[in-house]
């Protein structure tokens, strides 16, 4: 899928909500941290929400960078490595206590496992399976509505 700005944002929100939400739901109980399950879920979903909210700003940057490409495309690998700066930023914000609602402290291992699995899941879904239920999605630059 070659995205438009609107399509990027819509796809990110939908996939983080559905695929990211599902992965978070499954993974949180087995994360190594010793906090109560309720707190772990709260933190897990707040991290997910942060990726979605900050991601809208990241998408503006990606869209701008894409304008220098003749094809106005966004290679598959870019979608994967975007995860590095985005993950680092979320971790910095978590460490600085800048994400509201976090209970206690999120351990590095908990964050890393959840973030990597969610990112991989969303990236994989966007690069194939998404086209099965939504046959018009790829021709509309990732727009769903």
């Amino acid at each position: 899928m070659v995205p438009t700005l609107n399509g990027r944002i819509q796809t990110r929100i939908l996939l983080l909500a559905v695929v990211g939400g599902l992965i978070t739901l499954i993974i949180v109980p087995v994360l190594p941290g010793s906090a109560p399950l309720g707190d772990k879920y709260q933190n897990g979903f707040l991290v997910l929400l942060s990726v979605a909210v900050l991601g809208v700003l990241w998408e503006l940057l990606y869209h701008l960078l894409m304008q220098w490409r003749w094809e106005k495309d966004w290679p598959t690998l870019f979608g994967l490595v975007e995860g590095i700066p985005e993950g680092v930023l979320i971790w910095v914000l978590l460490s600085a206590g800048a994400i509201p609602g976090i209970v206690g402290k999120v351990s590095g291992a908990d964050f890393l496992i959840q973030f990597i699995l969610v990112w991989l899941g969303v990236w994989l879904a966007a690069n194939g399976p998404m086209r099965v239920p939504f046959i018009r999605w790829r021709f509309r630059g990732g727009r769903l509505v």
Partner: protein, 532 residues
């Protein structure tokens, strides 16, 4: 036939042009001999009585598609997946299977089945979802991670992944069996489409071996036209040379069988002049250079560009295409975002001159930058057996020793190139009016031209000006290039057109709209090779 059940039937479909049985042939009971009469030939609108009087038998079917190539195939594929049974559609074609012409053209232009075509991994004419992509399918089939790695790192650390021609054809064969394409195919030569008084259309088909000419009229509510390229055009000087000397041996088109050139070069060393800077010239160069390496030949290659691209080019830094050594470089026929990204969205809004200008900006002859080709050309330049020139040919003649001499006008003055063979890879396309069916549409059915001179279609691919309510003519493929969607003459472009046409037909009640639920169910049927 296996279907999802009666719910698949379009509940609101009430085609007015349909006889009680979806496909029904009425015998030509008229007094005519079954051929076109003068009155039919000159009338823009035909009545049932007029056709009957000519003695032409009539077949009623709601939807016909003309062409029978990849364009027709992906359209009926979409419609089959949208729930249309085979007896409501007919493919009128003079070829036996959808990839026949495509395979011929790829083969003669040096892409036999084991070679890779210039198409994206997810552009699968045998799979409307493009999932799994060709790269995934190849990885599974060959138990290799290499195709997956290539799509992961393309286009920066590897060339774009492209599928082998053979894999594409095998997939098309499987899908055509799955949707029972053969049940819909009617062999013959389409002569014309005319509007019918009372709505819909008559499409006249001449069945093979019908002598004296005896036609069949297909009476339908919907017509889809995907007749491909109107024809091949040669550069004027090449055409003049071939006509004057009747020489089809030394001067050949890359789109014709020209295997004799490579055979001769293996026996006797020679000079080849290659003309054109597109994908086909790259293919021909590869063949010449492969043969040179494999058979230790001493072939000399002169490559003449009309427009020599020496570096990156474009109006500004946000629209700059790579180029060098004569070529404009681009992964596929168009920038990738015309198939779904911001260029597609932008073009959809442009009209007239603005659209034509944008086509010029993103168009022009181009070829992919591929590592193998770059290596070969670099070697040729370094060793002096591959030379490039920029210029136009004014005249061509045969020298006493049998060499073909091209008189070239270059920026540095006139020059001459003597060659044993000239391979024309310019791939000029003929005007749409060169195609008999398209010319008839322009003359009699209200079709018009778009800003780049081809058939003018709406965003839904309805052919503007040809309405015969409640009937509609749609058109897609190369004959409609210049419309709101630029990539229409490509695999993925034909599928985008087919999707728009299917959605429009769903709005008109001919089929069901493919929503997420149906799409998933149908994909499962595709994956398990069950009929739609």
């Amino acid at each position: 036939m296996v279907t999802d059940g009666s719910s698949d039937r379009p509940h609101e479909a009430a085609p007015t042009i349909v006889a009680p049985s979806p496909v029904q042939q009425a015998g030509g009971g008229g007094s005519g001999g079954g051929d076109l009469t003068q009155e039919l030939l000159t009338s823009d609108w035909w009545s049932d009585a007029l056709v009957a009087a000519a003695g032409i038998p009539v077949v009623d079917v709601p939807f016909v598609t003309l062409g029978g190539g990849i364009g027709s195939f992906v359209t009926v594929d979409y419609l089959r997946i949208a729930g249309v049974p085979t007896d409501r559609m007919r493919v009128l074609s003079d070829i036996d299977f959808p990839w026949q012409t495509y395979e011929y053209l790829t083969k003669v232009s040096q892409i036999p089945r084991p070679e890779r075509i210039r198409s994206d991994s997810a552009s699968r004419p045998d799979n409307i979802w493009g999932f799994p992509s060709y790269a995934v399918a190849e990885a599974i089939r060959d138990k290799s991670l290499a195709p997956l790695w290539q799509v992961l790192v393309e286009p920066i650390w590897a060339d774009y992944y492209t599928p082998r021609a053979g894999m594409v054809f095998e997939g098309l064969e499987r899908e055509s069996k799955r949707i029972r394409y053969a049940d819909m195919l009617v062999n013959g030569q389409v002569r014309m489409v005319r509007r019918r008084q009372g709505g819909g259309y008559f499409t006249i088909l001449t069945p093979p071996d019908a002598k004296p000419a005896r036609r069949v009229a297909f009476r339908s509510q919907f017509v889809h036209i995907a007749v491909g390229y109107p024809g091949l055009k040669f550069l004027p000087e090449l055409q003049a040379f071939r006509t004057e000397h009747q020489d089809f041996y030394h001067v050949v088109s890359a789109y014709e069988d020209h295997e004799h050139v490579y055979d001769r070069l293996r026996v006797k060393p020679g000079v080849v002049l290659v003309r054109g800077g597109g994908i086909v010239s790259s293919r021909v160069l590869q063949r010449l250079m492969d043969d040179r390496a494999n058979y230790q030949l001493s072939t000399q290659i002169v490559h003449l560009f009309r427009t020599y691209v020496s570096g990156p080019h474009g109006p500004n830094q946000w629209m700059r295409r790579k180029g060098g050594n004569g070529f404009a470089y681009q992964g596929f026929n168009y920038p990738k975002s015309v198939w779904g990204g911001q260029l597609k969205a932008k073009m959809r809004r442009l009209e007239g001159e603005q659209r034509a200008t944008e086509y010029k900006l993103m168009g022009g002859t181009n070829t992919p930058w591929r590592r193998r080709w770059q290596r070969q050309m670099n070697q040729g330049r370094a060793e002096g057996w591959y030379r490039t020139m920029a210029g136009t040919v004014e005249q061509m003649k045969v020298r006493d020793d049998g060499m073909v001499v091209s008189m070239v006008k270059t920026g540095q003055g006139p020059g001459e190139i003597a060659a044993d063979f000239v391979i024309d890879c310019t791939g000029l396309e003929a005007d749409i009016a060169e195609h008999r069916v398209l010319a008839d549409l322009l003359e009699h059915s209200g079709a018009g031209r778009n800003p780049v001179g081809r058939l003018d279609v709406e965003r839904t691919f309805e052919l503007r000006g040809t309405s015969s309510a409640p009937g509609v003519i749609y058109a897609s493929g190369a004959a409609t290039l210049g419309g709101y969607f630029p990539g229409v003459d490509t695999f993925l472009g034909l599928q985008i057109a087919a999707q728009e046409i299917t959605d429009d037909l769903a709005r008109r009640g001919f089929c069901r709209k493919i929503g997420p639920g149906r799409s998933v169910r149908q994909w499962l049927r595709w994956a398990t090779n069950r009929q739609p």
